[in-house]
Amino acid sequence: MMPDASQPPTRLPPTRLREMGLAELQAYAELSGDRNPIHLDREQAILAGHPDLICHGMLAMTDIGGWLVRAMAGWQLVTLTTRFVAPMAVGTRLKVSASCEAHQQAGEPPRATVDFTAEDAGGVVRVKGRARFQRPGGIC
């Protein structure tokens, strides 16, 4: 959904992110430099107390960030905050839901706050967060 030029959408349509399989974890590790063995080496993950490999929280955040900036086209992302609520097993595919609230104060550019929640296929919340946007030209 493309928002109108002056008002953000009140609700972003839910979206499903990519499945975070082993190939995606390996690709993200290479891309980001996050080569913590809990994401790549099953033996090390188990030694660290996990039942198996776990996904990079930052992979989910990167995908959520990519989706948000597309969904809020025309708005400038100012702050993106994410809480990794629970570890994600390899193969997790998140469904993200988000709501958006607009704000404007006199003499300031329009702003919007997006609150989002990402659940796995079982409905368990794995990631939560908030993003703040404003119309371009208000900072720098």
Binding site: S32, V69, T79, P87
Partner: protein
Amino acid sequence: MVRFNRGWLALEGHRFRPFQARIARERVVRYLDFLGQLEEDAWRERACDDIGAALPTMPFSLEMEAGVVAEIAALLDIDANRLLHAEQSFTRHGPLRCGDLVAVESRLCDVTWKPASRVCFFGKESRFRVAGRLAVTSRSLYAIRASEEGP
């Protein structure tokens, strides 16, 4: 399980080794490709002119490549695989562009031990500057599950 070390609390305020990193266009393009956003030339050009608008998490990778996690683990004297990433935030103060040389300074801003849940939290704040101009700040919260301190 790692044992809680009361000495961790004294690390609050620790400044990590500053470093500089160049934002390579090729890397930005690979990020966009990973996100499936390489198909639009205009999007790619906008991203290279203001990376934060398209790839808000990319500054994290500069820290990863510089070995920040290994540095935290060494500071705490634990294996890196014991560090859990609990929270992350980025705030854009200005654009980061392809080709920029970014100076990164980080410090351990808070250390909190929660004995009831046996988790120690470590908050790290980072500043990303280009030619002295603040472009991005970030906050990372790491957690370690630990047993009570030994005798």
